[in-house]
């Protein structure tokens, strides 16, 4: 078991009213799963994804990651866990525009204080694997959307996470580019990486082994 959510509630208070963003979420994810989260806009998909990624908190319920209770964990411990096991991919890529492709890929390794020789090897390996060696000295705005998303995925993967969380990773791409990313996910999944993605596309959702549907913050 990779992670487990029990009776998770999340809300915000607005004008004296409690607005629920997530209601009574129960979810167990095994290692090696490929899950798609679907639902209309505003239904809480991103909120759930960030919650799983420990970037956002919740108000009620329990969250266990690799048997450890995330809800009672100290910030430092949680961020170490996060750094170790989780990679994020965004719809709008969120690369650092001032850094080259190479430097973007290197960044997470720097934060993990990995030595220079190992960093070089890993980045080179990743460039090679994603077929973007020729782009290594370019800056993100010089790349096409598909290429940027490739870098985004490569960056998420570079520190060997167990879990990749992707928020509409193909939302800004054309169908061909989208397909490439999905193929990539499929392959990573077959290598043992757990993937949870948010998507609007039935077709992309079908790459997953399981689909979770959200409506008004509730799983249906």
């Amino acid at each position: 078991m990779l992670l487990q959510l029990n009776n998770i509630f999340k809300w915000v208070n607005s004008g004296g009213q409690r607005i629920f963003l997530l209601k009574d979420i129960n979810l167990t994810v095994e290692e090696g799963e490929f899950i798609s989260i679907m639902g209309p806009s505003g239904s809480g998909k991103s909120t759930l994804l960030y919650l799983l990624g420990m970037l956002d908190g919740f108000d009620e319920g329990e969250y266990h990651f690799l048997e450890e209770p995330v809800h009672t964990m100290k910030e430092k411990h949680r961020s170490n866990l996060y750094k170790e096991y989780i990679g994020f991919v965004f719809q709008s890529y969120h690369l650092l525009d001032e850094l080259t492709v190479w430097e973007n890929l290197e960044m997470p390794l720097l934060y993990k204080k990995i030595g220079s020789a190992e960093r070089k090897a890993k980045v080179a390996d990743m460039l090679d694997r994603f077929n973007i060696v020729a782009k290594k000295d370019l800056f993100p705005p010089q790349l096409s959307g598909g290429q940027q998303q490739l870098v985004g995925v490569a960056r998420a993967l570079i520190s060997n996470p167990k879990l990749i969380l992707a928020d509409e990773p193909t939302g800004n791409l054309n169908s061909k580019q989208g397909e490439e990313i999905m193929e990539l996910f499929k392959q990573l999944n077959s290598e043992g990486v757990t993937i949870i993605q948010v998507t609007h596309s039935e077709k992309n959702a079908s790459y997953a082994s399981r689909v979770i549907n959200l409506l008004d913050g509730r799983m249906i």
Binding site: Y50, L55, F88, L96, Y111
Partner: protein, 795 residues
């Protein structure tokens, strides 16, 4: 990691070149100004400090009472030195009398050179802290020998060792060189005094009783206090030396002696009613404040611009957190970045300051350099870079790095992006308070200078050349020289006087005249002149007549100025008899219109122009014909002079230059404050620009919507600019009372002063508004012209 941070910082700067230029340039400018002002202050404060007995040297001054107004005089009489030595010897290691600096002419072989120096008593080397190059300090004081400064020795003797060589002073006295000393540093009050040093005894050979008496103040007296004696103790002891020795009767003015220590000469030499009320120290404070303010403004500006900018980096913060950055790492990154930028600014500032030094030295008449090795520079470096770096890093470091990444990455409400608009507005107001105050200050200074320039002089300075008669040769040949000059039509008239008409400082007291209140302690300034003087300077006789060769009796004639007539209380001045303190009866033959013979800023002083019957007046006043070329006339003048006086080099001054000297200091202060005002405005504009771009960015969407709804560019421009005009008007409104108070204080130091007109404030405020509009328009026009679709799509 460090490399990575620096790289991203550098690329950020390069990507936003304009912003980087404004931001770093502005800060660098602020640093540079503060650095220059710091150097100026340092130089002022360390004046004379190189003296090895800095704490023990003092000058003996006296407070004299003229009917209620106490004046502080520097000049003393000859017997005082001995009196101090014999009666108060325990207080002083040295008592040294010295003449005022006077120009002498030295001749050695073919070389003839004129130089300023003094005649002093034996202890001079200790008082001046002489550093000998050749010869022995102790040999000073022999009337037959002389000490020379290194520069003078070099220009007379070249490379050869001058020791023991002889030279001729003023064509009459042969002296042996007994010592050569290092030039006095520029930061020494003795610099003018000590081009050469002769023995005072030489001047006293054959001196009459007048020169030796208690009534004639013509010397300065310096002392080196004994160890463990304080200025206060010594001052208290010597207070009544003159009264005790000369007797109150002869000295109605009740002279009270006191010591003015070397440490105060430079900055605290302005006396009013007998007490020191500061002096240049006022300007030290003023510039200190300006420097601190400029640094403050530039720093806040920098912080303001940096933080406004850092809003843009919220996304970066989110990404970095998502890919594993801890908060601490982000804090470190932002601090490092701001430190790097501040460092850049600091080094740029050093460069700017170095480049500006020649100009700065010219304006301030100084010789300062950046004190690379001085710890103060590096303390200032650490403090300012550290402080500004930390402050400007503080906001992004702690505020941005505490962002929850989802906030920025999910693109949810950008509430945070609003930032502290109020704070920024307050800053702009403050900046304009300072800038407008400086602008008003500058304008008032210029108005005051203009005011005194417009003051009627009462004589004509234009084309008036003054040449001192330094040797007997010149005095002897005066008439022949004059007649030869007048043959040429380049010269209108030549006359003799004791003092230059622009600077008539000598005075006499204890006159008697009809109607004088017996208790009245008079002091009347003296112009010792000959027949042609009035004609030469073109004064205006109001009553009676000018001196004339037609009247033999004019040898004891005097002409009073209007102020003197009022001072002496004459209803009908012509024909009045005035008894001089030396017994002569003087007759008033005319009244001359008041002339500015002293300060431009004070009322005219009572002055008596006396006919120079004993030919003591040793200054030639030469009036050039306004219709001839000045260079041509001066060439003729020096040729004729040389022909008559081959052994005395000619020195000359233009009265116009001496006149300009009178407001040179004010003009310098005006120039400096003008520069500071310009820079303050410039820095303030940077602040405005920052705020404007910030506001325009924040309102991009609003602008887009308005445009879609049909707003024109000019309507949008108005809308965006209005806000700023309000801020600047508020700033000006606060500055006006402040500046008006400060400048009124400044003007109050001048007896003859201008009135600050209301329109001046109006111009200053209007100027600020115009500058604001110009600056802000750079941003607002751009924002208003943007394609609305673009800005709406970004949301």
């Amino acid at each position: 990691m460090l490399k990575n941070h620096l790289k991203i910082a550098w690329r950020n700067l390069r990507k936003n070149k304009g912003y980087a230029l404004i931001n770093i340039g502005g800060l660098a400018l602020g640093f540079a100004i503060t650095l220059l002002i710091g150097l100026w202050i340092y130089d002022e404060l360390s004046f004379n400090k190189q003296h090895s007995s800095y704490d023990r040297i003092a000058e003996v001054l006296q407070n004299v009472d003229f009917d209620g107004t106490i004046e502080t005089w520097e000049s003393q009489n000859y017997p005082l030195g001995d009196a101090l030595r014999t009666e108060y010897g325990t207080y002083f290691d040295e008592v040294v009398m010295s003449t005022y600096p006077r120009r002498s002419i030295f001749k050695h072989g073919e070389t003839v050179i004129g130089e300023l120096g003094s005649f002093m008593e034996e202890g001079a080397p200790a008082i001046l802290d002489l550093k000998m190059i050749h010869g022995n300090k102790d040999s000073f004081g022999d009337p037959n020998s002389i000490f020379l400064s290194a520069t003078l020795a070099n220009s007379i003797f070249g490379a050869e060792n001058p020791l023991g060589k002889s030279l001729i002073m003023n064509n009459e006295t042969s002296l042996k060189v007994a010592g050569v000393y290092e030039d006095m540093p520029r930061s020494s009050n003795f610099r003018d005094e000590a081009g050469y040093l002769g023995s005072l005894d030489l001047l006293m050979i054959g001196a009459g009783p007048n020169k030796k008496g208690w009534l004639n103040n013509w010397l300065m007296v310096f002392v080196k206090m004994a160890e463990n004696v304080t200025v206060e103790q010594a001052s208290a002891a010597i207070k009544n030396v003159k009264l005790n020795n000369a007797g109150e009767k002869e000295l109605q003015s009740n002279p009270q002696l006191f010591l003015h220590p070397l440490s105060k000469w430079r900055l605290y030499s302005h006396f009013e009613n007998g007490v020191s009320i500061g002096g240049r120290i006022t300007y030290v404070w003023l510039f200190g404040f300006i420097g601190a303010f400029v640094l403050f403004l530039a720093s806040i500006n920098f912080i303001n611009l940096s933080t406004a900018r850092s809003q843009k980096r919220a996304e970066e913060v989110g990404i970095r957190k998502v890919i594993g950055s801890s908060k601490l790492q982000l804090v470190r990154q932002f601090f490092m970045e701001s430190l790097m930028v501040v460092l850049l600014a600091f080094f740029l500032a050093l460069l700017l300051a170095q480049l500006a030094l020649p100009l700065f030295n010219e304006i301030t008449q100084k010789d300062v350099g950046i004190l690379w090795g001085h710890p103060m520079l590096w303390v200032m470096f650490l403090v300012s870079v550290g402080l500004v770096g930390i402050l400007s890093g503080l906001y992004p470091a702690f505020y941005l790095s505490s962002f929850l990444p989802i906030k920025v990455l999910k693109g949810l409400p950008k509430s945070a992006a609003g930032g502290n608009v109020r704070f920024r507005q307050a800053l702009v107001i403050l900046q304009f308070v300072v800038s407008v105050t400086l602008v008003i200050g500058t304008l008032v200074i210029y108005q005051q200078i203009q005011h005194v320039k417009n003051r009627s002089l009462g004589y004509e300075v234009e084309g008036l050349v003054m040449v001192p008669m330094q040797t007997d040769e010149v005095k002897k040949n005066y008439e022949a020289f004059r007649n030869t000059l007048l043959e040429s039509n380049a010269f209108l008239e030549i006359a003799r006087s004791e003092s230059p008409v622009t600077n008539t400082w000598y005075s006499d007291f204890d006159f008697k005249w009809k109607g004088k209140d017996p208790g009245f302690r008079d002091n009347i300034f003296r112009g010792l002149v000959n027949h042609e003087f009035g004609e030469t300077i073109q004064w205006s006789i109001l009553k009676g007549r000018d001196f004339s060769k037609a009247y033999a009796t004019d040898s004891t004639a005097v002409i009073l100025n209007e102020a003197a007539v009022k001072y002496m209380g004459f209803e009908d001045p012509i024909g009045q008899i005035i008894e001089a303190p030396w017994g002569e009866e003087l007759t008033v033959i005319g009244v001359v219109e008041d002339m500015i013979t002293q300060s431009l800023y004070e009322s005219n002083k009572q002055t008596m122009f006396r006919f120079d019957q004993y030919q003591q007046a040793n200054l030639m006043n030469i009036k050039l014909n306004p219709n001839t070329d000045v260079t041509e006339a001066m060439n003729q003048l020096s040729a004729v002079y040389k022909q008559f006086n081959p052994n005395t080099p000619m020195e000359y001054t233009f009265a116009e230059d001496q006149y300009a000297e009178k407001f040179a200091f004010e003009a310098r202060v005006g120039k400096l404050s003008g520069i500071f005002a310009g820079l303050a405005i410039f820095i303030s504009c940077l602040g405005l620009l920052g705020l404007a771009s910030f506001v325009a960015e924040r309102r991009t969407k609003e602008i887009g919507i308005r445009k879609v709804l049909g707003a024109s560019v000019s309507m949008l421009w108005q809308m965006l600019s209005k806000e700023f005009i309000g801020l600047v008007l508020l700033g000006s409104a606060l500055a006006i009372p402040l500046a008006s108070y400060m400048m009124q204080q400044w003007l109050n130091d001048y007896e003859y002063r201008t009135e600050i007109s209301w329109s001046l404030y109006g111009y200053a405020a209007l100027g600020a508004v115009l500058v604001t509009l110009l600056t802000v328009s750079v941003q607002t026009l751009r924002a208003a012209q943007n394609n609305p679709i673009k800005s709406l799509r970004t949301e």
